[in-house]
Symmetry: C2
């Protein structure tokens, strides 16, 4: 057996071995994909395990994250520091080898995958970031950004809608350095793919404008290699279809659904090792396998060294570009935004979707590497950067993106652009359609990526479009996601705060904005950085605490003087971001919401659920726990109780007056 | 001008007129789609405005719901009772003509559309219901279920991932009576479709196994009619591609994005009327138009009469089938499930995913028209009905469905199957992937459809698969949806309650179940129908209220005797469904959660947000406000504080002990 085939089979065995040790997991996919992975990791891809974050490395995404054992095997064999001990601890608490690959947890994992299709769309995002950065920085003879993005994906990825969205956009954008390998093994959990999936995937991708390459035998790494090399020459993105066998090499289980999601069993694993002529001991690896795989590390180190020399020469010839490169790849902003008063200045009456657009444009004038756009709602959600054109197959250097009506892919693409580095991505749509990308937003939070979500038309304030377009439960739903900042600004200055946070905090940020006009208040926008603050206080200890976010701050502000006339001292608290408020120390929280004051009224044009943590059993929440209706918002707001008078009523009620 | 063309142009004008009157809305799509709508509503479709719910009517879906003015115009012209006055009140509060078509609000609207792609997937669901019912009931010479499903859709529908999922499944299932008309007008909100969407839609649908018919001119209703007739002959689903002009007929705006989402303007509207040679007065309709359109009503009445005669003869020849038909189309269950003790009996240790599977199968033995399945996770989420096979192109009569890995389409399909009537649909996946169908679930709730969602693997109890597969925020997210019942049963008997509610309440129901085993408690499962109940009480007034749902009922039950030993009287409350509990009268709520008892501890392996409404500022919630980790669940539960000891600690803390 050739050394190449020995490595391929070792990849299979080490993957199956992990699953066996854990007594749970997915051996089938790794065993089928092993030849493709070998062709890529051993022959094609440019990476340096000694510096896994080298910016010009090729990116590899395992879209079917349930095959995580494969990536751990590769990271072990190719020198990324995972040990045999790590593999033995597959799926154990605290191990480097969790059930699905987790970005930030295991060195060499480029993105967290598992929810099917996300990885495929991530790959499109990596390729978009690469194309954009390359167009901006590369110069004749200096391809300083010049890498490929490879993704392996399975039938599940192909069935999920997100893969359609991402593939259609990738075809439109002609992302030639994106290459997907479709592990076509004909098996899903419920049986043969035929039971639910008879489409011609190749024809579908050709319809998207992809090059489609059919490999005859996906078990033959050389055929896959040849296909990869052909794919790398085309200006279109490429889909390489690899017919494989799930659980390949396991005589009892290969080609069956039984190979998918459970260990092969000790006897079957042994039979598989025998079948491959590999050592029978647990986790045994032939020395010649390591001798071979370490060559890739040497090759990678050399590649990075050459790139560094190239970049040094580039920096000499184009010092300004090299300086700009530093800015793009820095986590810090290139300006002191916090003290830049022009960024924070807003006045008059305006919708926060407009002030968000203004803040975005002020930011774009100061920060060169914002890169984002909308799911075909830019004129409505004000997500255009006026100082730039639109990224396209013809213009790679432009900063605005037409994502098309593809929210789910948009979120996954933005996640990958943030992971890639060099750009600051944002995604915009109507707030209600955050539903369509819920899992992508969840993954932004899980991966702690600086993705900004512009979510306009935030409540029944949408008005005439009616309940399908009026978010009601969405603030609660997004606030429930751990590690996500949900900002609902009350005016332009708070919008600036939201944008500031989105670029400096590190967590993903949702900027939830109104369609309708709102007043500007007297605060300093920087007050909002604490998540909640006293916008207008009474003298002495308040009788009642009034709190709200966004547009409903208007009603509590208006209620304050009416209550004062009735002898009730009300404190007005603007709470644009519950998460940031909960991050503050106990003393600050107490200074805003004194524990002793139990008469509390919260007002928000959304479901009441999130506010009980602040008002308790004795307070009141004015919210909307039903769907809205179609009609002018000025009629809807009073209908649903969002008036100063109703706030006053509730305040008096909780005070027992 | 022919009378046909006059009607087509009247449809255009009446639609644009509504938008003009409302000063908001979307004139462009209706003006482009009018010829297709005319061909369908006037020449092809079988319906009876005098009985809009006739079960064998053809279904029509306007997937681009923003074009709602079109459907209102059609419902007016074709006699469904909408008046000119209704059209004048387009998008006004309380009108019959809201911004997007709303099922249950406007007679003749088959489904609520607006979020793009939902309507397209709904159409697949209508066609699946029809095919299934037809296969079960039709007999030689008696096609008692025999209707088509027509859907018009636009570029947005085609871009959304849900359309891919639904179309791929429809092709696999060979739904020949499903016919989609693609309104290809080349324009989206941000400009020409070319900016983001260059795929070959026809080739893509051919790849799905659809018949694709290219109409040369979508403005010519006769061409569209011919295509429709051709489509109706094929055993494959058909896509009819209609090149149209957005805002057709408006000299100043046709073919531009400006025609999409704002009124034409009074002058432009007048010019358009002149252009068509139609009356210039507001909402004026030529008498010959009404004379013509009323013929369709007569045709429809006749068709229904013929069908009724057919059905009467069928009932004579096949009385048992006719009786069964009645059962299928009844909203009531054919059995007294509430008092059927065999349905409610569970014991021993088991995972609620298993008891859910058992309850489903008990139900399937009693109720013939359950029709559902899983997004390729049936062996895991136990959603198979063992007394039936799988619905497919070859076997239409079987009750189980392989949805494929397509959650979003699955939800929309189930919505439509419920809307269709005759079947009781359910959809199953892992709880975490409810993310992928959030908007579909939202629409189940908005349309008040009896769709059951089986959502297994409900917490960090998932274990080794790690955070991508461990729901954390999902209970909060779904509970936030108005009108949705979220059931998280603590044992088999509560699972039975969830299934009972799912079939009798009328609202959609989520059944959220565990991967891991749980004990069976001493309650009667019917106790759970009140949403929350005292599972184990102390003597006299409790010192502390312990409440939990699902798997964490185990920890509060175990805490009760430990607390008793310490002299603390604890009441144990199982709260499987917050929504049903909140439906109960104040007296019952007080009997479970006495207002005076403020020492309260809620325990749930999810984010804490939903529980503050029950524990207030002085209680405690043991939850998980971060993502989980990969590892065996028996290690994860104590790590995140889900132990009886921690419950005891928190109880003592809130008691100040």
């Amino acid at each position: 057996m050739s050394i190449d085939q020995k490595v391929v089979n070792t990849i299979r065995i080490l993957s199956a071995e992990q699953v066996q040790a854990a007594k749970s997991g997915h051996p089938g996919a790794p065993m089928g994909i092993a030849p493709t992975a070998y062709a890529l990791w051993d022959k094609v891809m440019k990476y340096n395990p000694a510096d896994p974050k080298w910016v010009n490395r090729d990116r590899y995404v395992l879209s079917g994250g349930h095959g995580s054992a494969l990536i751990y095997t590769l990271l072990h064999l190719y020198g990324f520091g995972l040990t045999i001990e790590d593999l033995k601890n597959f799926r154990q608490l605290g191990s480097k080898t969790p059930g699905h690959p987790e970005y930030g947890h295991t060195v060499g994992v480029e993105t967290t995958t598992g929810p099917l299709g996300q990885g495929f769309a991530n790959a499109v995002g990596f390729a978009m970031a690469e194309a954009h950065i390359a167009a901006h920085f590369n110069r004749e003879g200096f391809p300083v950004m010049d890498h490929y993005t490879f993704v392996t994906c399975g039938d599940g990825d192909m069935m999920e809608g997100i893969s359609h969205e991402a593939a259609s956009l990738a075809g439109t954008l002609k992302l030639g350095k994106l290459i997907a390998f479709y592990d076509k093994n004909g098996i899903t959990i419920e049986g043969s793919t035929d039971i639910a999936f008879r489409e011609n995937v190749g024809a579908r991708f050709a319809a998207y404008g992809w090059q489609v390459i059919q490999v005859e035998d996906g078990n033959d790494w050389q055929q896959v290699l040849a296909a990869a090399q052909q794919a790398m020459q085309d200006e279109r993105p490429s889909l390489v279809i690899c017919p494989t066998v799930i659980g390949y090499g396991c005589p009892a289980k290969q080609g069956t659904a039984a190979a998918h999601g459970e260990p092969l069993g000790p006897d079957n694993l042994l039979e598989t090792k025998k079948n491959f002529g590999l050592p029978l001991d647990d986790f045994a690896v032939l020395p010649e396998v390591y001798e071979h795989t370490k060559l890739a590390a040497e090759k990678g180190a050399k590649a990075q060294k050459e790139w560094e020399a190239l970049f040094a020469a580039y920096a000499k010839q184009y010092p300004e570009l090299a300086a700009e490169w530093k800015v793009w790849f820095s986590d810090e902003l290139p300006c002191d935004l916090l003290h830049d008063d022009a960024f924070w200045a807003f006045e008059g009456s305006n919708a926060t979707r407009n002030t968000s657009g203004e803040a975005l444009n002020r930011l774009a004038a100061r920060v060169p590497n914002l890169f984002g756009g909308s799911a075909d709602l830019c004129p409505s959600n004000k997500s255009n950067m006026k100082n730039s054109g639109y990224f396209s197959a013809e213009d790679r250097d432009a900063n605005n993106i037409h994502f098309g009506i593809r929210e789910h892919a948009m979120s996954a693409i933005c996640n990958a652009m943030a992971l890639h580095g060099g750009v600051r991505p944002y995604a915009a749509t109507f707030f209600v359609f955050s539903d369509y990308m819920k899992n992508g937003i969840r993954l932004s939070a899980m991966m702690k990526q600086k993705v900004t979500y512009i979510l306009s038309h935030d409540s029944i304030g949408v008005g005439e479009d009616g309940p399908t377009h009026q978010p009601v439960e969405h603030l609660a739903g997004l606030r429930a996601i751990p590690g996500l900042l949900v900002f609902r600004p009350a005016d332009g200055k708070e919008t600036a705060a939201a944008w500031y946070v989105s670029q400096t905090d590190g967590r993903p940020t949702c900027i939830v904005s109104t369609r309708q006009n709102l007043p500007t208040y007297d605060e300093d926008g920087r007050d909002a950085l604490k998540g909640a603050y006293i916008l207008s206080d009474c003298e002495g200890t308040p009788d009642v605490l009034l709190m709200a976010s966004g547009s409903e701050v208007e009603q509590i502000m208006a209620a304050q003087p009416i209550l004062a006339e009735k002898g009730v001292k009300a404190r007005v608290i603007s709470m644009p971001c519950m998460e940031l408020f909960k991050d503050q120390d106990a003393a600050y929280q107490e200074s805003v919401l004194p524990h002793a004051v139990r008469a509390r009224v919260a007002v928000e044009a959304g479901v009441t659920m999130p506010w009980y943590q602040f008002v308790g059993l004795d307070g009141a929440v004015i919210g909307i726990d039903t769907f809205g209706q179609s009609g002018p918002y000025k009629k809807l707001f009073p209908l649903y109780g969002f008036t100063a008078e109703h706030v006053v009523e509730e305040a008096l009620r909780v005070l027992g007056k």
